[in-house]
Amino acid sequence: MSRWDILWDHRATIIRGFENTLILFSVSSVAAFLLSSAIVLVIQTHRGALSGFFRTIVDGMRMLPFLMYAYILYYGLPSLGIRLDAWTAGFIALITYHAAYFAEILRGTWATLPKGQTEAARAVGFGNLAMYRRVILPQLMLRTAPVLGNQLIVCLKDTAFLMIITVRELTAAASAVQSTYFIPFEAFVVAIALYWLTSMAIEVLVARIGLVAERRGLGYGHVDSRR
Protein backbone atom coordinates (compact mmCIF):
# COMPACT_ATOMS: atom_id res chain seq x y z
CA MET A 1 0.00 0.00 0.00
CA SER A 2 1.45 3.37 -0.95
CA ARG A 3 1.83 6.16 1.54
CA TRP A 4 -0.84 8.16 -0.21
CA ASP A 5 -3.22 5.19 0.11
CA ILE A 6 -2.61 5.08 3.84
CA LEU A 7 -3.41 8.77 4.03
CA TRP A 8 -6.53 8.23 1.93
CA ASP A 9 -7.70 5.53 4.34
CA HIS A 10 -7.43 8.00 7.17
CA ARG A 11 -8.96 10.89 5.34
CA ALA A 12 -11.77 11.00 7.89
CA THR A 13 -9.28 12.12 10.56
CA ILE A 14 -7.83 14.81 8.32
CA ILE A 15 -11.27 15.99 7.24
CA ARG A 16 -12.42 16.23 10.84
CA GLY A 17 -9.32 18.24 11.68
CA PHE A 18 -9.93 20.51 8.71
CA GLU A 19 -13.55 21.00 9.77
CA ASN A 20 -12.38 21.95 13.22
CA THR A 21 -9.93 24.44 11.77
CA LEU A 22 -12.65 25.96 9.62
CA ILE A 23 -15.00 26.20 12.60
CA LEU A 24 -12.33 27.75 14.80
CA PHE A 25 -11.40 30.17 12.06
CA SER A 26 -14.83 31.25 10.90
CA VAL A 27 -16.49 31.56 14.29
CA SER A 28 -13.47 33.35 15.77
CA SER A 29 -12.95 35.76 12.91
CA VAL A 30 -16.60 36.79 12.77
CA ALA A 31 -16.77 37.18 16.56
CA ALA A 32 -13.43 39.02 16.61
CA PHE A 33 -14.67 41.41 13.96
CA LEU A 34 -17.88 42.14 15.86
CA LEU A 35 -15.94 42.64 19.08
CA SER A 36 -13.43 44.90 17.36
CA SER A 37 -16.15 47.10 15.87
CA ALA A 38 -17.55 47.65 19.36
CA ILE A 39 -14.08 48.40 20.73
CA VAL A 40 -13.35 50.88 17.93
CA LEU A 41 -16.61 52.66 18.56
CA VAL A 42 -15.64 53.12 22.19
CA ILE A 43 -12.10 54.22 21.36
CA GLN A 44 -13.20 56.72 18.73
CA THR A 45 -16.25 58.25 20.36
CA HIS A 46 -15.63 57.97 24.08
CA ARG A 47 -13.13 60.18 25.81
CA GLY A 48 -13.04 58.60 29.24
CA ALA A 49 -11.10 55.93 31.04
CA LEU A 50 -12.89 53.21 29.09
CA SER A 51 -11.39 54.42 25.83
CA GLY A 52 -7.90 54.56 27.35
CA PHE A 53 -8.39 51.08 28.75
CA PHE A 54 -9.27 49.62 25.37
CA ARG A 55 -6.42 51.45 23.68
CA THR A 56 -3.98 49.94 26.16
CA ILE A 57 -5.43 46.47 25.67
CA VAL A 58 -5.30 46.80 21.89
CA ASP A 59 -1.68 48.00 21.94
CA GLY A 60 -0.55 45.50 24.56
CA MET A 61 -2.20 42.50 22.94
CA ARG A 62 -0.38 43.17 19.68
CA MET A 63 2.94 42.82 21.47
CA LEU A 64 2.21 39.26 22.59
CA PRO A 65 2.79 36.13 20.56
CA PHE A 66 -0.54 34.37 20.04
CA LEU A 67 0.69 31.15 21.64
CA MET A 68 1.88 33.03 24.72
CA TYR A 69 -1.58 34.52 25.05
CA ALA A 70 -3.19 31.10 24.66
CA TYR A 71 -0.83 29.84 27.38
CA ILE A 72 -2.04 32.55 29.73
CA LEU A 73 -5.65 31.47 29.21
CA TYR A 74 -5.10 27.73 29.21
CA TYR A 75 -2.22 27.14 31.61
CA GLY A 76 -2.18 30.39 33.59
CA LEU A 77 -5.79 31.05 34.52
CA PRO A 78 -6.29 27.79 36.48
CA SER A 79 -3.93 29.31 39.07
CA LEU A 80 -6.64 31.90 39.61
CA GLY A 81 -9.28 29.23 39.84
CA ILE A 82 -10.53 29.66 36.28
CA ARG A 83 -10.32 26.38 34.42
CA LEU A 84 -11.09 26.44 30.69
CA ASP A 85 -11.14 23.43 28.40
CA ALA A 86 -8.86 23.60 25.35
CA TRP A 87 -11.62 24.56 22.92
CA THR A 88 -13.00 27.34 25.11
CA ALA A 89 -9.52 28.69 25.77
CA GLY A 90 -8.78 28.44 22.04
CA PHE A 91 -11.89 30.32 21.03
CA ILE A 92 -11.43 33.05 23.60
CA ALA A 93 -7.78 33.43 22.62
CA LEU A 94 -8.49 33.65 18.89
CA ILE A 95 -11.41 36.03 19.29
CA THR A 96 -9.89 38.51 21.70
CA TYR A 97 -6.39 38.41 20.18
CA HIS A 98 -7.55 39.11 16.64
CA ALA A 99 -10.16 41.60 17.81
CA ALA A 100 -7.19 43.73 18.94
CA TYR A 101 -5.62 43.57 15.47
CA PHE A 102 -8.91 44.23 13.69
CA ALA A 103 -9.57 47.14 16.03
CA GLU A 104 -6.20 48.70 15.24
CA ILE A 105 -6.83 48.37 11.49
CA LEU A 106 -10.31 49.91 11.72
CA ARG A 107 -9.14 52.67 14.05
CA GLY A 108 -6.29 53.63 11.72
CA THR A 109 -8.68 53.94 8.82
CA TRP A 110 -11.33 55.78 10.79
CA ALA A 111 -8.67 58.36 11.58
CA THR A 112 -8.19 58.93 7.83
CA LEU A 113 -11.89 59.40 7.07
CA PRO A 114 -12.83 62.93 5.98
CA LYS A 115 -13.13 65.23 8.96
CA GLY A 116 -16.84 65.88 8.49
CA GLN A 117 -17.62 62.23 8.76
CA THR A 118 -15.57 61.82 11.88
CA GLU A 119 -17.31 64.78 13.44
CA ALA A 120 -20.65 63.38 12.44
CA ALA A 121 -19.67 60.08 13.97
CA ARG A 122 -18.55 61.79 17.17
CA ALA A 123 -21.89 63.52 17.38
CA VAL A 124 -23.54 60.16 16.82
CA GLY A 125 -21.75 58.69 19.80
CA PHE A 126 -23.34 55.81 21.59
CA GLY A 127 -26.79 57.21 21.06
CA ASN A 128 -27.12 56.07 17.51
CA LEU A 129 -25.69 52.64 16.97
CA ALA A 130 -27.64 52.24 13.77
CA MET A 131 -25.77 55.15 12.21
CA TYR A 132 -22.42 53.59 13.13
CA ARG A 133 -23.50 50.24 11.80
CA ARG A 134 -24.92 51.58 8.56
CA VAL A 135 -22.63 54.49 7.69
CA ILE A 136 -19.24 54.27 9.34
CA LEU A 137 -18.62 50.55 9.67
CA PRO A 138 -19.38 49.60 6.04
CA GLN A 139 -16.99 52.29 4.86
CA LEU A 140 -14.29 51.09 7.21
CA MET A 141 -14.79 47.51 6.06
CA LEU A 142 -14.63 48.41 2.39
CA ARG A 143 -11.60 50.62 2.79
CA THR A 144 -9.64 48.16 4.90
CA ALA A 145 -10.62 44.99 3.04
CA PRO A 146 -7.09 44.02 1.87
CA VAL A 147 -5.54 44.56 5.28
CA LEU A 148 -8.41 42.79 7.02
CA GLY A 149 -7.89 39.99 4.50
CA ASN A 150 -4.23 39.68 5.51
CA GLN A 151 -5.25 39.61 9.15
CA LEU A 152 -7.83 36.91 8.42
CA ILE A 153 -5.05 34.77 6.97
CA VAL A 154 -3.00 35.35 10.12
CA CYS A 155 -6.04 34.25 12.12
CA LEU A 156 -6.32 31.10 10.02
CA LYS A 157 -2.66 30.31 10.65
CA ASP A 158 -2.97 30.99 14.37
CA THR A 159 -5.54 28.21 14.70
CA ALA A 160 -2.62 25.80 14.18
CA PHE A 161 -1.01 26.98 17.43
CA LEU A 162 -3.98 25.53 19.25
CA MET A 163 -2.70 21.99 18.64
CA ILE A 164 -0.08 22.80 21.26
CA ILE A 165 -2.84 23.27 23.83
CA THR A 166 -4.37 19.96 22.59
CA VAL A 167 -7.12 21.20 20.24
CA ARG A 168 -7.62 18.63 17.47
CA GLU A 169 -7.45 20.93 14.48
CA LEU A 170 -5.95 20.25 11.06
CA THR A 171 -2.26 20.25 11.98
CA ALA A 172 -2.96 18.08 15.04
CA ALA A 173 -4.87 15.65 12.82
CA ALA A 174 -2.06 15.51 10.24
CA SER A 175 0.40 15.03 13.06
CA ALA A 176 -1.64 12.18 14.55
CA VAL A 177 -1.93 10.34 11.25
CA GLN A 178 1.74 10.78 10.36
CA SER A 179 3.01 9.60 13.73
CA THR A 180 0.99 6.38 13.63
CA TYR A 181 1.93 5.43 10.07
CA PHE A 182 5.05 7.50 9.63
CA ILE A 183 3.95 9.39 6.56
CA PRO A 184 5.00 12.94 7.55
CA PHE A 185 5.59 14.13 4.00
CA GLU A 186 2.15 13.17 2.68
CA ALA A 187 0.26 14.22 5.81
CA PHE A 188 1.75 17.69 6.05
CA VAL A 189 1.71 18.36 2.33
CA VAL A 190 -2.05 17.78 2.43
CA ALA A 191 -2.41 19.98 5.50
CA ILE A 192 -0.38 22.80 3.92
CA ALA A 193 -2.40 22.49 0.70
CA LEU A 194 -5.63 22.83 2.69
CA TYR A 195 -4.38 25.94 4.51
CA TRP A 196 -3.27 27.34 1.18
CA LEU A 197 -6.63 26.70 -0.50
CA THR A 198 -8.45 28.27 2.43
CA SER A 199 -6.26 31.36 2.26
CA MET A 200 -6.93 31.59 -1.48
CA ALA A 201 -10.65 31.46 -0.76
CA ILE A 202 -10.20 34.28 1.75
CA GLU A 203 -8.33 36.31 -0.85
CA VAL A 204 -11.01 35.78 -3.47
CA LEU A 205 -13.61 36.91 -0.96
CA VAL A 206 -11.59 40.01 -0.10
CA ALA A 207 -11.09 40.83 -3.78
CA ARG A 208 -14.87 40.68 -4.22
CA ILE A 209 -15.29 43.18 -1.42
CA GLY A 210 -12.62 45.30 -3.06
CA LEU A 211 -14.65 45.38 -6.28
CA VAL A 212 -17.70 46.55 -4.36
CA ALA A 213 -15.58 49.22 -2.73
CA GLU A 214 -14.30 50.47 -6.07
CA ARG A 215 -17.78 50.59 -7.53
CA ARG A 216 -18.85 52.78 -4.65
CA GLY A 217 -15.89 55.05 -5.10
CA LEU A 218 -14.17 53.96 -1.91
CA GLY A 219 -10.61 53.25 -2.96
CA TYR A 220 -8.55 51.43 -0.41
CA GLY A 221 -7.37 54.10 1.97
CA HIS A 222 -3.79 54.21 3.10
CA VAL A 223 -3.43 51.84 6.01
CA ASP A 224 -0.08 51.17 7.56
CA SER A 225 -0.93 47.92 9.27
CA ARG A 226 0.27 44.90 7.39
CA ARG A 227 0.05 41.16 7.18
Binding site: L64, M68, S79, F161, I164, T171, Q178, F185, A191, R227
Partner: protein
Protein backbone atom coordinates in the same frame (compact mmCIF):
# COMPACT_ATOMS: atom_id res chain seq x y z
CA UNK B 1 9.91 32.00 41.07
CA UNK B 2 13.32 30.99 42.36
CA UNK B 3 16.79 31.44 40.96
CA UNK B 4 16.67 28.25 38.89
CA UNK B 5 13.35 29.21 37.33
CA UNK B 6 14.69 32.62 36.52
CA UNK B 7 17.78 31.34 34.75
CA UNK B 8 15.65 28.79 32.87
CA UNK B 9 13.49 31.65 31.67
CA UNK B 10 16.54 33.58 30.49
CA UNK B 11 17.84 30.50 28.69
CA UNK B 12 14.48 30.22 26.92
CA UNK B 13 14.63 33.89 25.97
CA UNK B 14 18.14 33.38 24.63
CA UNK B 15 16.99 30.44 22.48
CA UNK B 16 14.16 32.53 21.01
CA UNK B 17 16.56 35.42 20.44
CA UNK B 18 19.36 33.63 18.64
CA UNK B 19 17.11 31.49 16.46
CA UNK B 20 15.12 34.58 15.45
CA UNK B 21 18.32 36.57 14.90
CA UNK B 22 19.73 34.00 12.47
CA UNK B 23 16.41 33.80 10.64
CA UNK B 24 16.38 37.60 10.29
CA UNK B 25 20.03 37.80 9.24
CA UNK B 26 19.45 35.28 6.46
CA UNK B 27 15.82 36.09 5.69
CA UNK B 28 16.37 39.78 4.93
CA UNK B 29 18.99 39.34 2.17
CA UNK B 30 17.21 36.23 0.90
CA UNK B 31 14.03 38.26 0.59
CA UNK B 32 15.97 40.86 -1.42
CA UNK B 33 17.36 38.17 -3.71
CA UNK B 34 13.86 36.77 -4.29
CA UNK B 35 12.46 40.23 -4.98
CA UNK B 36 15.25 41.00 -7.47
CA UNK B 37 14.80 37.65 -9.20
CA UNK B 38 11.09 38.27 -9.46
CA UNK B 39 11.54 41.78 -10.83
CA UNK B 40 14.10 40.48 -13.33
CA UNK B 41 11.13 38.82 -15.05
CA UNK B 42 12.78 35.52 -15.82
CA UNK B 43 9.74 33.51 -17.00
CA UNK B 44 9.60 30.32 -14.90
CA UNK B 45 11.60 31.63 -11.94
CA UNK B 46 9.14 34.49 -11.48
CA UNK B 47 6.19 32.15 -11.25
CA UNK B 48 7.98 29.87 -8.82
CA UNK B 49 8.70 32.82 -6.55
CA UNK B 50 5.07 33.94 -6.69
CA UNK B 51 4.04 30.42 -5.68
CA UNK B 52 6.61 30.35 -2.90
CA UNK B 53 5.46 33.69 -1.48
CA UNK B 54 1.83 32.63 -1.68
CA UNK B 55 2.54 29.33 0.12
CA UNK B 56 4.74 31.08 2.66
CA UNK B 57 1.97 33.52 3.49
CA UNK B 58 -0.60 30.76 3.97
CA UNK B 59 1.31 28.06 5.84
CA UNK B 60 1.21 28.10 9.64
CA UNK B 61 4.69 27.89 11.17
CA UNK B 62 3.60 25.02 13.38
CA UNK B 63 2.71 22.98 10.32
CA UNK B 64 5.80 24.03 8.39
CA UNK B 65 8.26 23.26 11.17
CA UNK B 66 6.73 19.80 11.70
CA UNK B 67 6.86 19.17 7.97
CA UNK B 68 10.50 20.19 7.62
CA UNK B 69 11.70 18.46 10.77
CA UNK B 70 9.89 15.17 10.09
CA UNK B 71 9.96 15.00 6.28
CA UNK B 72 13.55 16.10 5.61
CA UNK B 73 15.11 12.81 6.83
CA UNK B 74 13.00 10.93 4.26
CA UNK B 75 14.89 12.79 1.55
CA UNK B 76 18.26 12.00 3.05
CA UNK B 77 18.65 15.23 5.03
CA UNK B 78 18.31 14.41 8.70
CA UNK B 79 18.05 17.74 10.52
CA UNK B 80 18.54 18.42 14.19
CA UNK B 81 15.66 20.38 15.67
CA UNK B 82 17.52 23.66 15.83
CA UNK B 83 18.49 23.54 12.18
CA UNK B 84 14.91 22.63 11.26
CA UNK B 85 13.63 25.56 13.32
CA UNK B 86 16.05 28.04 11.76
CA UNK B 87 15.25 26.85 8.22
CA UNK B 88 11.52 27.11 8.89
CA UNK B 89 11.72 30.64 10.20
CA UNK B 90 13.99 31.68 7.31
CA UNK B 91 11.62 30.24 4.70
CA UNK B 92 8.71 32.01 6.35
CA UNK B 93 10.22 35.43 6.90
CA UNK B 94 11.96 35.52 3.51
CA UNK B 95 8.57 35.20 1.80
CA UNK B 96 7.24 38.24 3.62
CA UNK B 97 10.49 40.21 3.29
CA UNK B 98 10.46 39.59 -0.46
CA UNK B 99 7.17 41.48 -0.66
CA UNK B 100 8.54 44.39 1.36
CA UNK B 101 11.65 44.63 -0.81
CA UNK B 102 9.62 44.30 -3.98
CA UNK B 103 7.41 47.24 -3.05
CA UNK B 104 10.54 49.34 -2.46
CA UNK B 105 12.10 48.27 -5.76
CA UNK B 106 8.91 49.03 -7.67
CA UNK B 107 8.58 52.41 -6.00
CA UNK B 108 12.19 53.37 -6.67
CA UNK B 109 12.12 56.57 -8.75
CA UNK B 110 13.29 56.19 -12.33
CA UNK B 111 14.92 59.62 -12.11
CA UNK B 112 17.30 58.34 -9.47
CA UNK B 113 18.46 55.58 -11.78
CA UNK B 114 18.81 58.06 -14.65
CA UNK B 115 20.88 60.47 -12.60
CA UNK B 116 23.20 57.57 -11.77
CA UNK B 117 23.47 56.34 -15.35
CA UNK B 118 24.00 59.88 -16.62
CA UNK B 119 26.90 60.13 -14.18
CA UNK B 120 28.53 57.14 -15.84
CA UNK B 121 27.62 54.42 -13.36
CA UNK B 122 27.36 50.83 -14.56
CA UNK B 123 24.38 48.75 -13.44
CA UNK B 124 26.19 46.94 -10.61
CA UNK B 125 27.64 50.24 -9.40
CA UNK B 126 24.37 52.15 -9.30
CA UNK B 127 22.61 49.22 -7.70
CA UNK B 128 25.22 49.09 -4.95
CA UNK B 129 25.81 52.81 -4.42
CA UNK B 130 22.48 54.48 -5.29
CA UNK B 131 19.59 52.01 -5.30
CA UNK B 132 20.43 49.60 -2.48
CA UNK B 133 21.14 52.28 0.15
CA UNK B 134 17.83 53.96 -0.68
CA UNK B 135 15.60 50.89 -0.87
CA UNK B 136 17.26 49.75 2.35
CA UNK B 137 16.06 52.91 4.06
CA UNK B 138 12.56 52.67 2.60
CA UNK B 139 12.25 48.92 3.28
CA UNK B 140 13.66 48.90 6.77
CA UNK B 141 10.47 49.93 8.61
CA UNK B 142 8.56 47.16 6.80
CA UNK B 143 11.35 44.68 7.43
CA UNK B 144 11.41 45.53 11.14
CA UNK B 145 7.64 45.09 11.16
CA UNK B 146 8.14 41.62 9.69
CA UNK B 147 10.72 40.95 12.42
CA UNK B 148 8.08 41.54 15.07
CA UNK B 149 5.80 39.10 13.26
CA UNK B 150 8.61 36.58 13.14
CA UNK B 151 9.19 36.85 16.88
CA UNK B 152 5.48 36.55 17.54
CA UNK B 153 5.28 33.43 15.37
CA UNK B 154 8.51 31.88 16.70
CA UNK B 155 6.88 29.93 19.57
CA UNK B 156 5.78 27.49 16.86
CA UNK B 157 9.21 25.87 17.09
CA UNK B 158 8.22 24.55 20.52
CA UNK B 159 6.21 21.89 18.71
CA UNK B 160 9.37 20.03 17.69
CA UNK B 161 10.66 20.12 21.24
CA UNK B 162 12.73 23.29 21.31
CA UNK B 163 12.55 24.94 24.70
CA UNK B 164 12.06 28.56 23.71
CA UNK B 165 10.74 31.43 25.79
CA UNK B 166 7.16 30.12 25.51
CA UNK B 167 7.84 26.43 26.06
CA UNK B 168 10.15 27.03 29.00
CA UNK B 169 7.17 28.20 31.05
CA UNK B 170 5.80 24.63 30.91
CA UNK B 171 9.14 23.31 32.16
CA UNK B 172 9.26 25.73 35.04
CA UNK B 173 5.64 25.08 35.99
CA UNK B 174 6.30 21.32 36.00
CA UNK B 175 8.75 21.94 38.85
CA UNK B 176 7.11 24.78 40.74
CA UNK B 177 3.46 23.82 40.17
CA UNK B 178 2.81 27.51 39.71
CA UNK B 179 2.32 28.15 35.99
CA UNK B 180 1.14 31.73 36.18
CA UNK B 181 4.35 33.53 37.34
CA UNK B 182 6.65 32.17 34.60
CA UNK B 183 3.96 32.72 31.95
CA UNK B 184 3.50 36.32 33.01
CA UNK B 185 7.27 36.83 33.17
CA UNK B 186 7.71 35.38 29.66
CA UNK B 187 4.85 37.54 28.36
CA UNK B 188 6.53 40.62 29.80
CA UNK B 189 9.84 39.73 28.14
CA UNK B 190 8.10 39.33 24.77
CA UNK B 191 6.34 42.66 25.21
CA UNK B 192 9.55 44.47 26.09
CA UNK B 193 11.30 42.94 23.08
CA UNK B 194 8.51 43.65 20.63
CA UNK B 195 7.82 47.16 21.89
CA UNK B 196 11.50 47.93 21.32
CA UNK B 197 11.10 46.82 17.71
CA UNK B 198 7.91 48.86 17.34
CA UNK B 199 9.65 51.99 18.61
CA UNK B 200 12.58 51.32 16.29
CA UNK B 201 10.15 50.93 13.42
CA UNK B 202 8.60 54.34 14.13
CA UNK B 203 12.00 56.01 14.13
CA UNK B 204 12.98 54.32 10.88
CA UNK B 205 9.67 55.29 9.37
CA UNK B 206 10.42 58.94 10.01
CA UNK B 207 13.83 58.56 8.41
CA UNK B 208 12.33 56.83 5.37
CA UNK B 209 9.82 59.64 5.13
CA UNK B 210 12.59 62.24 4.98
CA UNK B 211 14.21 60.37 2.09
CA UNK B 212 11.14 60.73 -0.08
CA UNK B 213 10.82 64.45 0.60
Amino acid sequence: MDQAAFSALLAGAWTTAWISAIAIAVGVPLGLALALLREARVPVVGHLIVLYVSLGRATPLVTLVLFIFLAAPLFGFPLDRYTAAVITLILNTAAFNAEVWRAAIRGFPREQVEAARAAGMTRPLYFRRIMLPQIWITSLPGLVNEMTFLIKASPAIAVIGIVDLTRVTNRIAAVTYEPLPPIIAAAVIYMVLISAFVRLQRRLDERAHRLTM
